[in-house]
Amino acid sequence: MPSRLAFVGVWLVLLALLGISMAVTLLELGPWHAALNMILAAASAVLVVWFDMHLRESSGILKLFATGTIIFLLIMFSFGLADWPTR
């Protein structure tokens, strides 16, 4: 299991990602800022799942379930979003 210092390090990275997200929003980068904000959110979520939810030291079956959740959400989003522009 990671040390206490490692968890504090992850926390600082999470706060840094939040800071970058704010900078991206306030810089008004046009259409890019929406994509960048979601990528930064995904990076934060991966850090929380991997370290704070202890998936890093969990068994393969738990990693499979976590990945499966993301895949099912991607199926819902990709099928759903494919419906709207093709009507």
Partner: protein, 213 residues
């Protein structure tokens, strides 16, 4: 049954097997929760794509400062909860208790910020079903605020459940009803739920506050 050893139910052969089943069960529950919130995110994504101007007007009415502070508070609570699980696994009762109480306080701070936001938005007329007249001309902006209150409300209810669960674990530790590291599984399960609720907010914050700003 003795508190000194983790209780193994009859369908399991060893404590490790039971722990793995507990973890898997909770991940299945979290997957179903992800589908629930996924539908809300999907609706928000479609609104952002179909009505960009109205979404921009609606998003700009939200208080970015309290949004950022709330997000930082929840990210901090993720760390205190992770530290609680580590302390529990390693049998450090006092440390686990301190970080669990810290997690509860951070959760309450987030809820207080959110309630403050809701009152502020109600006063601006942004709560579509009632209150002062809605200030934005676009009908889609009303749709956005319906979804805003549904999604933040659903998240706040989940967080309130998390606060009660973490407070319950802290109370059990304080009264010595829960022994560590024997009952680490309880802290772990509550921790997984807490982190999931934080992840929902990690995505809700940019979706509601940032992408159409």
């Amino acid at each position: 049954m003795s508190d000194a050893l983790p209780a193994v139910h009859e369908q399991f052969q060893a404590p490790g097997q039971q722990l793995e089943a507990d973890r898997l069960g909770l991940w299945v529950f979290l997957a179903s929760e992800a589908m629930l919130f996924g539908a809300v995110f999907f609706a928000l994504t479609v609104y952002h794509l179909i009505h960009p101007a109205a979404m921009h007007a609606a998003t700009s009415r939200l208080d970015l400062v309290t949004g950022v502070i709330g997000t930082a508070v929840l990210l901090t609570s993720s760390t205190t909860m992770a530290l609680a699980v580590k302390a529990a696994r390693e049998g450090r009762r006092t440390e686990a208790l301190i970080v669990l109480v810290g997690t509860v306080l951070l959760g309450l701070a987030f809820e207080a910020i959110k309630v403050h936001d809701w009152f502020d938005e109600y006063d601006q007329g942004l709560y579509p079903p009632m209150g002062p007249p809605f200030p934005l001309p676009q009908p889609a902006a009303r749709l956005y605020f319906h979804l805003y209150f549904v999604s933040t409300g659903l998240h706040a209810v989940h967080l309130a459940v998390g606060i009660l669960l973490v407070a319950g674990v802290a109370a059990s530790l304080l009264s010595n009803r829960m022994k560590l590291p024997e009952r680490t599984v309880t802290v772990e399960m509550v921790g997984l739920y807490w982190q999931f609720v934080d992840i929902v907010w990690i995505f809700l914050f940019p979706t509601l506050y940032l992408v159409s700003r």
